[in-house]
Amino acid sequence: MSKGKFITDAEEPSESIALGESEGIAVEPITQWDLFWTRLRRHRLAMIASGVLVLLVLVVLAAPMMQSAGWIDSPVERLVDDGGRTLRNIAPRLNDGTINSLPPGGEPVDASATALLFGSDDLGRGVFTRVIYGGRASLTVGFVTGFIVALLGTIIGSIAGYYPGAVDQSLMRFTDLVLGLPLLPVAIVVGRILPEMSFLPSWIKQGPMGIALLLGFLSWGGLARIVRAEFLSLREKEFVEAARAAGASDRRIIFRHALPNAMSPIIVQTTLTVGIAIVIEAALSFLGFGVPPPTPTWGAMAAEGGRLAVRGFWWELFFSASALVITVLSINFLGDGLRDALDPTQTIERK
C-alpha cells in the first residue's frame, strides 16, 4: 500500500479476525432484481395484465391440443350448414341466410360443445375457435416484431449515441433510410416477393413469422432514434464521467450506466410497437397481403367482421377486436409496470 493509509488500517490486527463476521453486514446489497420484482408485484394493473397475457399465450399454445381433445373445432371447417342448422342443434347466430354464402353442396362437420360460443362467421365457421387460433398468428407477429425492434433499435441507437462522429452519422443515415420506407407498400411488395425466394425456409415464406420479421426489420428506426438521443444526453452526465474516471470500460458504462437509464423509453416504445405490429398485420391481412386465408388472424377476422357488422352481425368483429384490444392494453399496462419497477426513485407503495 502506498503512502495514503486509511485510519481504519490502523486496526489491522483485529481486521483479519473480524473478517468472518463482517462478511454478512449490510454491505451485501438487496439486488436490483429483488427491488424490481417487489415493485412490479405491487403494481396491480401490471400484474393483472401479465396474468391475462400468460393466459392468452397458454390458450393459444394449447390450441391444437384443445382441438384434438374436442374442446374446440378446426378453425377452417364449416360448422353451420346453409340452412343454419348445426349437427348439435346449437342455435346458430348467423342464420338469416343473407350472409351465409357457403357454396352449395358443402357439408358441415361435427362440432364441439363450444362451437358456436361466439357465433359463426359468414362461412359457417365458429368464431370462438377462430379467435383462439387467430391469436397464434397475431401474438407471434406482435411479440416477434417487438423483440426485433427492441433488439435492433437499442443496439443501433446506443452505438450511434455512444460513439459520435462517423459511426453515429453512418448509422443514423441508415436509420433515416429505413424510417423513410413507407411501411405498408414495402411490406406488401416484400411480402409478395418473399414466397418466391426458394432459399428461404418455409416458416419464413408463409405464415406469421415472415410478416413478423418483415415488420421488425422495417420499424426499429423510431426506437433507434430515441435510444440515440438518450445516450447522447447520458454520455455527458457526470456519473458517466465518474465511471470513466474510475476506469470502467465502455462496455460497462453502456450496460451498467447508460442502458438502465434509457430503459423507460425503450420499454414504452417496444410495448407500443407490439400493439402497432398486431394492428399492421391486421391491415395487411385486410388488404390480402397478410397471413393467407383460411388461417385466421385477429386482424383478418376484424376486417371480415367489420363487413358483416355493418349489416348487424356484430359478433365476429366484436370478439376478434376485443381479443386484440385486451392484448394490446395488457402489453401496455405491463410495459407501464416494468418502467415503474425499473425506476428506483419510485416508491414501492403503489396501488
Partner: protein, 337 residues
C-alpha cells in the same frame, strides 16, 4: 516544498467549433492555453477563476477525462498523457476526482455501494474486499455502511457529495481533483464538506487540486493558489501571498469581490468592466488587457506576459507592469501583428 507529485507543462486543450451541413470546423476554442503548473506532494492547491476560464477543463485534462492537444502531465515520474487508454488503470488508482453536481454525479439507477465499488472492480478487488472497502470509506466520510444498499435519490445534497468523496477515495488514491465540490451546496453544508476534506487530506496524506470560482472557499483549505484567466494561469502563490500581496490585477479584482461580513468596513472594490472575452477570439498580448485597470497601450495589448517569479519563493505572476521588469521586451517574447 518537496518535489512535485504532478508537473504539468505546456498543456493545451482546444475544442473545434463545428457548424454547417458538413460539420466544417469554423474555429477553435482554446480552453486551456499552455498551462504550466506544479502540484507538490501533500499540498492542497487551489485553482480559481471565473466561469469559462478553463479550470474544470484543466482538471479533466490532467485526469485524461479529456484528451489534451499538447503538453505533458508528469505524475510521479511518468507522463500520463503518453499512456495508451488501456494502460490507465494504474493512474486511475492514484488519481481520482470529485465532481461538482452531487445530483448528476451519481447514477440514479446504481446503488451507492455499487457506485463506490466501480473503481474497486476495475482494480480487481474481489466481491468480499469490495464490500469491506465500501463500508470503510462510507464510515470515513461520515456515513453508515448500510447506506451502501440505498439509491442516490434517498440522500440529501451534502450526503451525496460525501458519497462522491467516498467513491473517489475507494481506490485509495494519492491525488484528488475536486472540481468545485461545494459550489452546489448550501453554505452550512459547504463548511461541513470543507472540514471533511481537510480532515481527510491530513489523515490520508492526500494531494489535492481544489477547483473553485470562489476564493473564500479555497482560503479555508489550500496551501497554494493558482489563478486562471481565459485558459492561462496568471498568478501562482502561497495562500498568504495571494491574500496579502496579490500581484496580478486580476487577482486583486477577485479578492476585492470577497464579501466581508462587517458593514462598517468600506473597501475599494475593483469592478471589472465587460465580460470574459470569447476564448474563440482571445485578445492579443496579455489576455487580461481588455479589462485590466492598469493596462498600458502598446505594451499589454501587444506582448504576452509569461509567468515570472516575484520573490524567488514560488510567487509567480504574469503581468508586465507588476513583475517590474519589462525592458526585456526589447526582445519580444511573442510578436503580435
Amino acid at each position: 516544498m518537496t518535489e512535485p507529485l504532478m508537473s504539468v507543462r505546456g498543456l493545451v486543450k482546444t475544442y473545434p467549433i463545428k457548424g454547417g451541413a458538413f460539420q466544417k470546423v469554423l474555429g477553435v476554442v482554446k480552453a486551456i492555453d499552455r498551462v504550466d503548473l506544479d502540484i507538490y506532494r501533500g499540498e492542497a492547491l487551489g485553482l480559481v477563476g471565473e466561469s469559462g476560464c478553463g479550470k474544470s477543463t484543466f482538471g479533466r485534462a490532467i485526469l485524461r477525462l479529456e484528451e489534451p492537444d499538447a503538453g505533458s502531465v508528469v505524475f510521479d515520474g511518468d507522463d500520463v498523457l503518453q499512456l495508451p487508454q488501456k494502460d490507465l488503470k494504474g493512474y486511475r488508482r492514484d488519481a481520482q476526482v470529485v465532481f461538482q453536481d452531487p445530483f448528476g454525479s451519481l447514477d440514479p439507477r446504481t446503488s451507492v455501494g455499487d457506485s463506490i465499488a466501480e473503481g474497486l472492480r476495475v482494480q480487481g478487488y474481489s466481491r468480499k474486499e469490495r464490500g469491506r472497502r465500501v463500508a470503510d470509506v462510507l464510515e470515513l466520510v461520515g456515513l453508515e455502511p448500510y447506506h451502501a444498499n440505498r439509491y442516490p435519490h434517498e440522500f440529501s445534497g451534502g450526503q451525496r457529495q460525501r458519497i462522491g468523496i467516498a467513491r473517489a477515495l475507494a481506490v485509495n488514491p494519492r491525488f484528488l481533483v475536486l472540481d468545485e465540490p461545494v459550489s452546489a451546496l448550501d453554505v452550512s453544508i459547504q463548511s461541513q464538506i470543507l472540514n471533511l476534506l481537510k480532515q481527510l487530506q491530513r489523515e490520508l496524506d492526500l494531494t489535492l487540486l481544489f477547483i473553485a470560482h470562489d476564493l473564500s472557499v479555497v482560503e479555508h483549505l489550500c496551501d497554494r493558489i493558482a489563478v486562471m484567466y481565459l485558459g492561462r494561469v496568471v498568478e501562482v502563490a502561497s495562500r498568504d501571498d495571494i491574500f496579502n500581496a496579490p500581484t496580478h490585477p486580476y487577482t486583486e479584482a477577485l479578492l476585492s469581490a470577497i464579501p466581508v461580513p462587517d458593514p462598517t468596513i468600506h473597501r475599494k472594490r475593483i469592478l471589472l468592466e465587460g465580460d470574459l472575452p470569447s476564448p474563440l477570439n482571445p485578445p492579443t498580448g496579455c489576455s487580461f488587457n481588455t479589462r485590466c485597470p492598469i493596462a498600458e497601450k502598446g505594451l499589454c495589448d501587444v506582448y504576452e506576459p509569461e509567468l515570472r517569479s516575484i520573490n524567488g519563493e514560488g510567487h509567480e505572476a504574469a503581468c508586465h507592469l507588476r513583475t517590474g521588469d519589462y525592458r526585456h521586451l526589447d526582445r519580444p517574447l511573442i510578436t503580435a501583428e
